[in-house]
């Protein structure tokens, strides 16, 4: 892991086209995210936010241009990336406890069939504690609220001790308490050098959280500090008529 730690950039994309079966979904991606920084992806539904996240995980191929994660091809950097899916994408009826879900973050380290070790169980307990779900370890994952489930999935990535965390719309349908809990953990992780990539529709949150914002809609429209990217002009370019100016000089997005 020495090489990875030494690499300055968590993400480096140059002129990248990303897509499935040779058909690009997202083009013109140029990113340079320094290790320990926070990147927020903004764009309408179907803009390619999830595709970009999956390309960082090596699950969707880069068709053109280059992409590296800590200096490596994405698929080879999986040991240091942690993925937090949308809770809605998971089967809530699946018979598994919250602690087991968090333990999945350790599976890669544990391997296929070796029993879990004390260090793994400790990592799970600590991760659950950080997201405020210590008392829910033995609860069925499906019986948690949407926000608690999302917190458990963040705990899973924490337990994986990832250096780069990728979160796909982590605040969709999440209650305020859970959103606060998740934001607190993300800020703590960021302060200790973990890089973050997070997609959201929430412009206010992006302004507050991001070091860099990347504006997507089929292609990358802009990237840079939130103050430069989240302007009425660039938003209107990416969103077209779905960007609406409101009275205080800010721009809001309306979904079609």
């Amino acid at each position: 892991m020495g090489d990875l730690a030494a690499a300055g950039a968590a993400l480096r994309y140059t002129g990248a086209s990303i897509g499935y079966h040779g058909t690009p979904v997202l083009t013109h991606v140029d990113l340079n995210l320094a290790a320990g920084r926070r990147l927020v992806l903004i764009g309408p539904n179907g803009a390619g936010k999830s595709t970009l996240i999956k390309s960082v995980l090596g699950l969707v191929p880069v068709l053109d241009g280059t992409a590296t994660v800590f200096g490596q091809p994405p698929a080879q950097a999986r040991a240091v990336t942690g993925y937090v899916p949308q809770t809605d994408s998971l089967d809530a009826d699946f018979p598994v406890t919250t602690a087991q879900v968090v333990m999945m973050g350790r599976y890669r380290r544990i391997g296929w069939w070796r029993p879990t070790r004390a260090v793994d169980r400790r990592a799970v307990t600590q991760a659950l504690d950080r997201v405020g779900l210590a008392d829910r370890a033995g609860t069925q994952f499906g019986t948690l609220s949407g926000g608690q489930r999302q917190r458990a999935l963040v705990a899973r990535a924490v337990a994986a001790e990832a250096r780069l965390l990728l979160l796909d719309e982590p605040f969709n349908g999440v209650d305020a308490v859970s959103q606060d809990a998740i934001l607190t953990v993300l800020r703590e992780l960021s302060a200790t050098g973990t890089s973050l990539v997070l997609s959201t529709h929430d412009l206010a949150l992006a302004r507050e959280l991001a070091d860099q914002v990347c504006l997507l809609n089929g292609r990358q429209w802009a990237v840079g500090p939130p103050g430069e990217v989240l302007t009425a002009e660039t938003l209107r370019r990416a969103y077209g008529r779905h960007a609406v100016d409101v009275s205080d000089g800010r721009t809001v997005l309306v979904e079609p």
Binding site: S89, A92, D93, V96, Y107, R108, W113
Partner: protein, 296 residues
Amino acid sequence: MIEPFTVPFMARALAELALLAVIAGPVSVFVFARRLSFVSDALTHTVFPGVVVGYLAGGIDGVFAGALVAGIVTAIALTLLTRGGALSDDASTAVVLTAMFSLGVALVSRRSSYTADLTTFLFGRVLTVTPRQLAETAVLAVIILGLLLVGARAMIFRSFDPVGAAAAGFRIGWLDLWLNVVVALVVVAAVRAVGIILVVALLIVPAAASRMVTARLPVMAALGTGLILLSAYAGLLASWTASVEYGFSLTSASAVVLVLVLAYLLLVPLGAVRRRRRAPGHGTHAERSSPHELVG
């Protein structure tokens, strides 16, 4: 109540079903977790022509080889097709499966002992299990449990969160093949004893029934095995009693499956109670209510 089982063929029948219980309990949990009842269903249809060809070529011993080849080929084909999203639980697939089944029937119908043979393939011959068959089932059971043990953790992760598992570096395609092969091996192990129709019950009912009382996967597996054991004992006893005491024939394998289904039906109210007791307000999750999940 144990006296019928002192007769050697009854003892062998019970032993064969006990071996199948040990593997079908855990495997059914994975079939349930991955919602693979469709794959089990597909396998029984495609293994059928393999069984017939094996029988025509080598008699009852050829059935094993025929089922094995057809099962593995199907497992690989299903893995490739579902991976590309080319296969779904729809009409065109049903047509292909029915065609495979018809092919099997057409092959059997060329024989003079057509009806008897067909019955054997469809419903098995649990009462004529030979010591050699028992040994083969035991070997398969060890292989299947070994494969499950090694792959369990990765397969649970993959079942719960495919993208997350892939992101963590697990190879989804291989895991799917792994489980499809395991299911195919169970079909192969069980086909001579219970036939290709009833093997679906062993792959689906145990987990569906035990899910009514528990949400813990290892407990589900153990409970599933226990349910099959109980059904094997009760079903064999019922079919023995029916023919010895009352002089009417009750096919043993179907008696076993009927008891298994009865156990499931008895547990359904418990499942309903459990769900109601579960934190109110979270009852909006999609429950597994498709009939296909339960009856294959």
